[in-house]
Symmetry: C2
Subunit: 338 residues, 2 copies
């Protein structure tokens, strides 16, 4: 595509991190989608990313329409550098694209004994409470917190009841979705995993008003505002769509997708050693909370992905036939041996 060797390597690393951690929807399965965006001239393969505004603890980064997979690590590094200097760093990004799994970027903070935070807005698929219009993306939040002997606490979740990836799995299996994941075009209750293709929408975490969907809606909105309104990216229903065949929204109020990153140096609060001892204690206590069923231990955020990473690092990553086919087509197009 014209990416530098370095950028291509980094993008591949971020995609493989998703596959390794079991988030198949955000791994190499997305590669052909990125290529189509590049063909539609919505992705710039050789961006000149830069800091366009800053203070000692903040920056706005312009991603120059680059691959989010490359823009995000650049911006997170700016946040980490600022945290080294003044305790914390906070970077809002405009003019970017889909950045892969949020967890990868948040986890960049861990080797520096920092807490890492990453979020992004995304194509509108989610209806706010009381609405039938798609206004927000699945707008994920990731928070990575270092521990000592224990593995790090890594939360990485869409602010919807279920991620779009989970919905896609049901679509492939031709299975119904649980009540509360999606709604029909009229706001009607639905278990149709294909509801998005029929004018329906995904639901914010909480599913309905009685179960707190206004909280999921607020969370998704905060992600949208921090990522896009603070930076000058396009927000809400104007967020650029991921599928290249979907026309861009009219009257976009900003440039590209937006992200938001944070890095907080642990020793800006207390010594890293003390903190990590208490995180070990926290994790140990929660892991040993009384389970609802014997042999069903309480999990710490990040446990399932880490287990999967171990498994796949040893035994390989299963790739479905349709993805192999797409990779074959890409290989042919770019003259690469698969």
């Amino acid at each position: 595509m014209g990416c530098s060797h370095e950028d291509a390597g980094l993008a591949a690393k971020v995609l493989l991190a998703a596959d390794l951690r079991g988030i198949d929807s955000h791994g190499v399965a997305r590669l052909s989608g990125y290529v189509r965006l590049w063909e539609a001239k919505r992705i710039n393969a050789s961006p000149l990313m830069k800091v366009v505004h800053e203070t000692p603890s903040t920056a706005v980064v312009d991603g120059d329409a680059g691959l989010g997979l490359v823009v995000a690590p650049y911006a997170m590094q700016v946040a980490i550098n600022k945290a080294k200097n003044v305790g914390t760093g906070w970077v809002s990004v405009r003019n970017s694209n889909h950045f892969g799994i949020a967890g990868y970027h948040a986890m960049m903070a861990l080797p520096h004994d920092m807490i890492g935070i990453a979020m992004t807005n995304a194509s509108a698929l989610v209806a706010p409470t009381f609405s039938v219009e798609r206004m927000l993306g699945t707008n994920p939040i990731a928070v990575a917190i270092p521990a000592g002997q224990q593995p790090a606490f890594v939360a990485d979740f869409a602010t919807t009841t279920a991620s779009n990836g989970k919905l896609e799995i049901l679509q492939r299996k031709n299975t119904d979705a649980p009540v509360g994941w999606v709604q029909g075009a009229e706001g009607n209750e639905s278990t149709d995993a294909n509801e998005l293709k029929k004018g329906g929408s995904m639901l914010p975490l909480g599913s309905d008003r009685e179960h707190g969907s206004h909280k999921g809606y607020a969370l998704g909105s905060i992600v949208d505002i921090f990522s896009a309104v603070l930076s000058g990216a396009s927000y809400g229903p104007w967020a650029p769509p991921f599928p290249a065949y979907v026309p861009m929204p009219e009257n976009m109020p900003g440039e590209g997708l937006g992200h938001f990153f944070g890095a907080m140096r642990i020793d800006a609060f207390r010594t890293a050693e003390e903190f990590k001892q208490h995180m070990d204690n926290w994790i140990d206590r929660f892991r040993n909370a009384k389970p609802a069923e014997i042999n069903n231990k309480v999990l710490i955020p990040g446990d399932p992905e880490r287990e999967m990473e171990k498994e796949r690092a040893n035994n390989g990553i299963p790739v479905t036939g349709s993805v192999v086919e797409e990779l074959g087509t890409l290989a042919q197009k770019f003259g690469i041996t698969l």
Copy 2:
């Protein structure tokens, strides 16, 4: 109790803000609870609050066991001052008590053209996903974002399906709770609003695993860690209980309750004028999202509380008989005319 005139006035202001905004569970109804904590020597009426560690963008505040209603505004002011200097300020607080509504503290940032963030840990009432043990408080998060012509965006919510205040309303009315708010002592589904008195627990936002309770559990955990593990307060199941008659947990790993505050100067990212214009556009667009039912408009976080504030500022705050009685008892005890 021995509070300075200034502290007493501030505490009253924070409590009244809750009553005005319709969050009756966090207003003067709590006054007798604070007094009981003071009588049990768990609240220090004349604390020497201080910054015990800091960097240009961070601080840890020791609340000296003061009223959270007083400690929180002190700490939030430290965050605001740091944001003035280096763009953002982040303050973790230990050795504090219940701080009233999170929204009050977050909103302190608004007149400074800053985004305000407030969160706190609290007595353990909530079971993590797959557990029957109460490990987390309802751990609320508030985020206040300034707008221009439009009123500010103010999200303020417990990281549980429903707040404890909502559960208390059902208890007073002797009404069942919806499925998904609480679970029984064995992890069984329950609609008993009094389940907490029978060994049951509240559920994280999402209610069950299938509907994303692991996300609510992760959010509540992040609030706990930012508020208490970063600062050196007591975390998880060791968070000090609000009712003075409940014995303190054994082997507490820190001091008192913990809070976490953030302030981000808008113009550390882009000019406040530009940002506010886009926030007005954001709010206007969301308010006009297609509603599921005619005459049921989409709300912006903060709308219901602001409506209530208008109503009650004009017509007064209704106070239930039992609260009037408690206030009467307090008045008598302290020789004040009710």
